[in-house]
């Protein structure tokens, strides 16, 4: 174990050369990702040592025993060696010992992650995968949102982990935010769980990691780790019914008289569909189209006009609204802060 620490240090230097990326698995910011990171350093150390030894032997053999002169038929054949029980036994036993060591280290991380003691104050979020977006429900708080997951920051002094209970509404998906934790699949007819505890405030990115259909590539994940105060404020705001701005009444009427309501929910209105994302507070989100574009009026308008502009293969059809109606609906949705 101690010998491998040298290798760990070496590996960290190499790996930190490309640490600036937002989804780097070697830049952990939560407990599950950190314990995987430590384990992976051990594994990388061991495999690097094996590589250097075996590749070194290979290189030596090629240099030492490579035939320099033309090796004609007349020349002597080298001594024929058929095997050696002692040597073969040694290169069976040593790998077995390495396997035992690695296995024990691995088992510990499997159990500490998957069998972690659940804390009483933990937050529960239900995650439902859809083609090609994420539904997040907070059953303790009555909040429903989409694509942008808000969780409180957790630190070692005040652990505040978030437990994700996951399933899918259609095909298989996988929730992967590399800096927070390993991935976990969302499978229809099956409930999986995982937990995250971001240690520092900020935005963590990820995306669906199980091929789920045409637009798998743009099923992006955004996890906002807020301070406990910010998080409480966010929850309180989300619990409010949708803003009813009289200035956007025309857009609201168009929305309520179109097919929009059969797929989308806007709390406090006749729109109660569940096939698409909840739009009650869509105006307050940073992005639309599951994180693929910024939430600006222009982008929103283009998306409503034809979602395939950003996400070809998205299940929402083009809405065939004329320019005036498009403007009105866009204006309405932007008021839903």
């Amino acid at each position: 174990m101690f010998a491998s620490q040298g290798w760990c240090g070496f590996a960290v230097v190499i790996l930190s050369a490309f640490v600036a990326d937002p989804t780097n698995i070697f830049a952990p910011a939560g407990t599950p990702a950190s314990s995987i990171f430590s384990l992976s350093m051990l594994v990388l150390g061991i495999t690097a040592a094996i590589f250097l030894i075996v590749a070194g032997i290979l290189a030596y053999v090629l240099v030492r025993y490579g035939s320099r002169a033309s090796n004609g038929q007349g020349e002597q054949e080298p001594p024929q060696i058929y095997g050696s029980n002692q040597i073969e036994l040694s290169w069976t036993v040593i790998p077995v010992l390495i396997v035992v060591m690695l296995f024990l280290a691995t088992t510990r991380v499997i159990y500490t992650t998957e069998h972690a003691q659940r804390l009483a104050n933990s937050l529960d979020v239900t995650v439902i995968g859809h083609q090609f977006w994420w539904e997040y429900r907070y059953p303790q708080m009555g909040v429903v949102t989409a694509n942008e997951l808000h969780v409180p920051v957790s630190d070692h002094a005040h652990p505040l982990p978030t437990y994700l209970t996951m399933s899918s509404a259609d095909t298989d998906h996988s929730f992967w935010v590399p800096r927070l934790a390993g991935k976990m699949d969302l499978i229809p007819n099956k409930v999986n769980t995982m937990w995250i505890d971001p240690q520092t405030k900020g935005l963590y990115l990820g995306q669906c990691a199980q091929y789920c259909g045409v637009q798998h590539a743009k099923m992006l994940i955004r996890v906002y780790a807020d301070t406990p105060q910010e998080f409480a404020a966010w929850v309180e705001h989300q619990q409010q019914p949708a803003v009813d701005d009289p200035a956007a009444a025309e857009g609201r009427d168009i929305f309520m008289h179109n097919a929009c309501i059969s797929c989308h929910t806007i709390r406090g209105t006749v729109a109660t569909g569940r096939f698409g994302p909840d739009l009650t507070h869509v105006g307050g989100r940073d992005t639309i189209a599951s994180g693929s574009v910024r939430n600006t009026s222009a982008n929103l308008r283009e998306f409503i006009d034809n979602p395939a502009n950003f996400k070809p293969g998205a299940l929402m059809p083009p809405m065939h609204l004329d320019a005036h109606d498009l403007d009105a609906v866009t204006a309405y949705l932007t008021t839903l802060k």
């Binding site: 490309f18 995987i36 590589f51 035939s67 992967w176 229809p188 990115l205 693929s292």
Partner: protein
């Protein structure tokens, strides 16, 4: 005792048959039951699909070279990776390995043909039909719905994406039936190989004298038996789901998506070994010959191969570490997967020990074999990383995994296949491949391979999942993808060079003669190409290397094998 090398004039007379019409030639190939011709057809058919599936890979690499590229649509891209994977596994990997097996096994065990020549022809043609049917989906995939479309469910076709509600049209059906058909062919050939090796060995060839290539083909064929059954069953269940209204995998009606994963991977992981064991088999023949030494630790090599065969049946759910098996399941499959590294390690060490003390000849064939050894070492080490379940929670389904299995499939298997081509092409065609072109091919391919697949590990570590048709610009993945794609172009050039070498050498290459490598197994005792009956007189062998005995009568292997009761570093001086 020793083998007769038949150098009858009869062969020359047979070679001098008058020119025939092309239709007669074609008829000869279509109706043949000769294991050599069937082997060559398998190889030719696999090379054809290798070019197609390689071209598909190239299109994907162009699309992924830069973020938010619009070179192909997501629908086309998803079809490309599905067809690339399916083709490479079922219509390149399997047939090319069966092709070499078909050609070489009877020659190496001193038989005149396979045990069931007609079954052999049937197996080839049914597999070939499966491949053509798969590609017909590009024309007929959507059936009455409109134009064609390739299957786009991924090569492991996870449920419920394959249900009719998510995959309307017939493209998924073409995929299912193509794999069903190729599975029938594979089982037929596997059965044939097992029967041939068990029953058709020449006098004196006890199982303990069987060359390692047939030994490993025995293991691989046994695995194919066990593994293809569940796959076929799953395909039939899928068809029932799609057309008869059953609900095995139909999650909308209470079916289980995880059930499909189990069925698929209990085929899919042994399949990896079905593909890689023949590569080991080639290495076991080629590395000793170009080291001028007997294989080190023959009994250990056999035991390790059989061990890999058995253990490989208990590792499948390491493809499923993220589906929620729970800590117990993840722990078990971590251990099973790690254990397989022990017999695999024994093989690598024994190859190194074979090289040790030899006189290594750097022919093109040997260079590819050394490339195989080096790359297989790395592939094995990244495999250990992936066997660590928590590490896999990060690496699984990322580009790291893509890099890992391409290291196995290209870095190990394809390299070893190229090595086998340089080694046995003279036997099959009667002419040598150009060594000069072969070395160009090797160096170009090595550079392209490492540029592509070494760097491909990195975007996986940076969070890039597989099977995405495009990616965000802000993730820092672009630089890696540009380099990966440029490596793909170099590999393409190298492969074209290889194809050119094969064609050019067929007409212009130097005449090979029966034994150009001064090798030791029975296939080198007959003319190149061998006559249809292989051996004018069935040979009798007294050791694992009958031609060594013949060439070194003062120091035959049979002496060593007689005294094997005390095998402590038994050593003999050369001739």
């Amino acid at each position: 005792m020793a083998t007769q090398i038949p150098v009858d004039e009869m062969h020359d007379q047979i070679a001098r048959v008058p020119r025939r019409l092309w239709l007669e030639v074609l008829h000869g190939w279509v109706t043949t039951v000769d294991h050599k011709k069937i082997g060559l057809m398998y190889i030719g058919y696999a090379l054809f699909f290798l070019v197609i599936a390689g071209f598909e890979a190239l299109l994907m690499r162009v699309q992924l070279a830069i973020p938010n590229n619009h070179f192909v649509s997501p629908e086309v891209f998803n079809g490309l990776f599905t067809m690339h994977g399916t083709t490479m596994v079922f219509f390149v990997g399997m047939p090319i390995l069966f092709g070499f097996g078909n050609y070489l096994i009877p020659l190496m065990i001193g038989a005149r043909d396979m045990a069931f020549p007609r079954l052999n022809a049937f197996s080839f043609w049914i597999s070939a039909f499966g491949g053509l049917l798969l590609y017909f989906s590009y024309v007929g995939g959507s059936g009455l719905y409109g134009a064609g479309s390739a299957p786009d469910v991924g090569w492991f076709a996870y449920a419920p994406l394959t249900a009719r509600v998510f995959s309307p049209g017939h493209s998924t059906d073409y995929w299912t039936i193509a794999i069903l058909l190729s599975g029938i062919g594979s089982i037929g050939t596997a059965l044939n190989i097992v029967a041939t090796i068990i029953c058709m060995r020449c006098p004196g060839m006890k199982m303990s004298r069987l060359p390692l290539l047939p030994w490993l083909y025995l293991v691989t064929s046994g695995l194919a038996f066990v593994a293809i059954g569940p796959l076929t069953a799953a395909q039939i269940m899928l068809m029932l789901d799609r057309y008869v209204g059953s609900h095995f995998f139909d999650t909308q009606a209470g079916g289980s998506a995880v059930l499909w994963m189990h069925f698929f991977w209990i085929f899919g992981h042994p399949e990896v070994y079905i593909l890689v064991l023949p590569a080991f088999a080639f290495a076991n023949e080629i590395i000793p010959v170009f080291s001028r030494k007997a294989i080190f630790g023959y009994p250990a090599m056999v035991a390790a191969s059989v061990g890999i065969g058995f253990i490989s049946l208990s590792v499948w759910a390491h493809h499923m570490f993220t589906v929620g098996l729970g800590p117990g399941g993840n722990t078990f499959f971590t251990l099973a997967t790690m254990i397989i590294s022990v017999p695999t390690g024994i093989k690598i060490f024994n190859w190194l020990a074979t090289l040790w003390g030899g006189k290594i000849q750097f022919t093109a064939s040997m260079m590819f074999a050394i490339g195989f050894l080096f790359q297989f070492l790395i592939a094995g080490l990244t495999g250990i990383m992936l066997s660590v379940a928590p590490f896999d929670w990060q690496l699984g389904n990322s580009y790291f995994v893509v890099a890992h299995f391409h290291y196995v499939l290209v870095g190990a298997i394809l390299f070893m296949l190229f090595s086998a081509f340089y080694y046995w092409y003279p036997k099959m065609s009667g002419r040598m491949l150009s060594e000069r072109l072969g070395k160009w091919h090797f160096w170009l391919f090595v550079i392209g391979f490492h540029l592509t697949f070494d760097l491909m590990h990195v975007p996986g570590l940076l969070g890039m999942p597989r099977r995405i048709y495009t990616y965000e610009a802000d993730r820092g993945w672009m630089i890696w993808n540009v380099l990966i794609s440029s490596g793909a172009i170099i590999q393409t050039v190298a492969t074209l060079l290889f194809v050119y070498n094969m064609v050019w050498s067929y007409f212009k290459g130097p005449i090979a003669g029966p034994d150009p490598w001064d090798a030791w197994t029975l296939e080198w005792s007959v003319p190149s190409p061998p006559p249809s009956y292989n051996f004018a007189e069935i040979p009798t062998v007294a050791s694992r290397r009958p031609l060594w005995d013949l060439k070194h009568p003062e120091d035959p292997d049979s002496d060593y094998e007689m005294e094997q009761g005390s095998p402590h570093e038994t050593q003999k001086e050369g001739a």
